[in-house]
Symmetry: C2
């Protein structure tokens, strides 16, 4: 049982989106395909991986460091002890050999992308969906039959007014979502409050709106927004300040009654531990959004889960960033709170299997071996185009 | 005044070295050359940049994100307001456009590499050494005429015994160094103490030995080493635990009387601020080793200096990681404690201008415009080989 080749490619995902910090017109994503000599159903089992949007493709680190290490490693060093499957934990150790501690960014994305492919492989070789494999290994075999999912949108576009924002939100409701998230901080507070009121008009008052500042605010602005948001039924206030400014977060946490959410720009166990140690988040109120594909993969995410549980956090407070199939498997298999989705954007990476609708804000699970990228035709075309 | 082209290349710096965490046999470094249409002495002024060893070349980020942004930017957006020179701060903002907050690693190296080239350019266009430019802008025109420098070595090699280690240390003394640093943590504590005693035998007892664990230890081991080191005249105990584990550092800081040193694996202002907020270091006892070439360059380093001064730290507690000309200019121009050097290794990047000896543990400054990479023949060959 061995890897025969690993393909990687950088895919542009041009989009006219803009949040409070960046525009997405030059965003790219890395895709990888780990091809093995294992045959299932007449075909070579291949593990597919990609990463979430927002942090750019990692072709350099993949082709110069990680893929050569995997291909040069004794192939047994990538297998489970009984040699019946690939072992994502062992692959992880090979990828991270000769890497110094600290500096968690970019490298964490490259490792997360390949880690996804190894979990896809492992589940395909066991001929079961990844959520089932995860549930069997880490949750006594119980998985959730459907998963909470909210619509992330409300981006700023040049010329997009409040009416267009309301139309966008109505579109999400028509698609079956009941919670939506919009961006804040790309406009003045008073303009943002008008946008919030306009969205609440469409949603009703029962806590179905989350807002996201994308880490833009200084302490004073973060507190000012926190206070203003307290007058509305806000489901959560996301990333008020710099993702590593735990002291700012602690001040906001203390000052506001609005639930907080953060973590999509923390890329390691150690950074997540610092958030818990210093950020003064409330495990009964707040949400954590660490993204495994950007953070050294499921191998690291499982360590993060264990650390969080040791600090009194329930898995049901976790909503991984991403909005794609890998995050859905994690939520269902490990019993997380749910997922996000960017309806219609970041295609073809965003979203779940084709033809699986969102109903009452939840999405059901398809049944296919591995992650089921094969069930998403436009995404599968990308992987089929690899040499 | 404009940039005509930017070259970049990945250079292998193979070495048989091994510290407690990685071996250097596959280490690489990125070099860049920013070519302008400015003419000095009949030649086009070109800014050169590279980064310190240990975190690998960054060809992907340089060629896919940073260099295209610089080349696409309106050229005036890279110039000082009076258009008489390039402005490293403005170049920095262009490089970091469309980059999300957090995730400080790799990207910080790529930016640091180009930042070096912009400072080299700026000083060459003003026709003065970089230390002079830095002193004029940030230190009332005063620079240090010579700079403290210590020899970093004492790596583990297969088969290298205590006698060979002593020979190595004697070699550093013969070269003119008086302080040396050796690795710890790649062997057992008792073996490491034998190595320390052997080195102290050569050095004498007056506080001229630093030891470096390269972030390897867990809390218990870090405390055990800290206690054991307290019995010896140790100049500093470097990176006991994970560089981002500020709580571990705080515990070690509290428990040991040995001065601590850390920072070479923190790559941003925000991470440095967290170190100061949570690491419980002592500004009268400890040392900070943040490396500008790995941490978004001099632009970010100046912000870090300001932050440190606001927290009661003197610049004289700073010894930037690196062991190369850029770090020497910073130390002399900004009035830092000093520099490290890896005598004879990481060539041709390590070390200062040719023919400038170390005397009594200090090195004098050469006089040449910019960083003076032109004064280091073997290094200059690499830059001359760029297309």
């Amino acid at each position: 049982m061995k890897i025969t080749t690993i393909h990687e490619k950088t895919i542009p995902i041009k989009s006219a989106l803009r949040n409070a910090v960046i525009d997405f017109s030059e965003m790219t994503i890395s895709v990888v395909a780990v091809v093995t000599d294992v045959v299932r159903g007449g075909e070579r089992v291949t593990g597919y991986g990609f990463h979430s949007n927002g942090r750019y493709a990692q072709g350099g680190i993949l082709t110069e460091r990680l893929i050569p290490r995997l291909m040069k490693a004794p192939q047994d060093s990538l297998l489970t002890d009984d040699r019946q499957n690939f072992d994502p934990f062992k692959a992880w150790r090979v990828m991270m050999s000769n890497e110094k501690p600290g500096g968690h960014g970019e490298r964490s994305v490259a490792v997360g992308t390949l880690d996804m492919a190894f979990w896809d492989l492992a589940a395909k070789i066991e001929e079961k969906p990844l959520y089932q494999l995860l549930a069997e290994r880490y949750r006594d075999g119980q998985w959730d039959e459907d998963v909470y999912v909210y619509a992330a949108g409300g981006y700023y576009h040049p010329g997009k007014g409040v009416a267009a924002l309301q139309d966008e939100i109505r579109g999400y409701l028509d698609l079956g979502y009941d919670t939506v998230k919009i961006k804040i901080g790309g406009a003045s507070l008073s303009e943002d409050l008008k946008r919030i009121e306009a969205v609440l008009e469409v949603l009703g008052k029962d806590n179905r709106l989350a807002v996201d500042a994308n880490g833009r605010f200084d302490l004073e602005t973060a507190l000012r927004y926190g206070e203003a948001l307290g007058s509305y039924p806000i489901k959560w206030y996301e990333e008020p300040g710099d993702p590593l400014d735990y002291a700012l977060l602690a001040r906001v946490s203390e000052a506001t009654k609005v639930p907080l959410a953060t973590g999509e720009n923390l890329f390691s166990l150690q950074d997540s531990l610092n958030l818990i140690r210093y950020g003064q988040l409330d495990p009964e109120r707040d949400y954590l959004q660490i993204d495994p594909t950007l953070s050294y993969g499921i191998v690291e995410y499982l360590k993060i889960l264990r650390m969080l549980e040791e600090h009194g956090w329930s898995r049901r407070r976790l909503i991984p960033h991403g909005g794609h199939q890998l995050a859905l498997h994690l939520a269902a298999g490990l019993g997380l709170y749910g997922n996000e989705l960017y309806p219609g954007v970041f295609q073809p990476f965003g979203g779940f299997a084709d033809g699986v609708p969102v109903e009452s804000g939840r999405v059901r699970l398809p049944y296919a071996p591995g992650i089921g990228i094969e069930l998403k035709a436009e995404l599968m075309k990308i992987f089929q185009s690899l040499p």
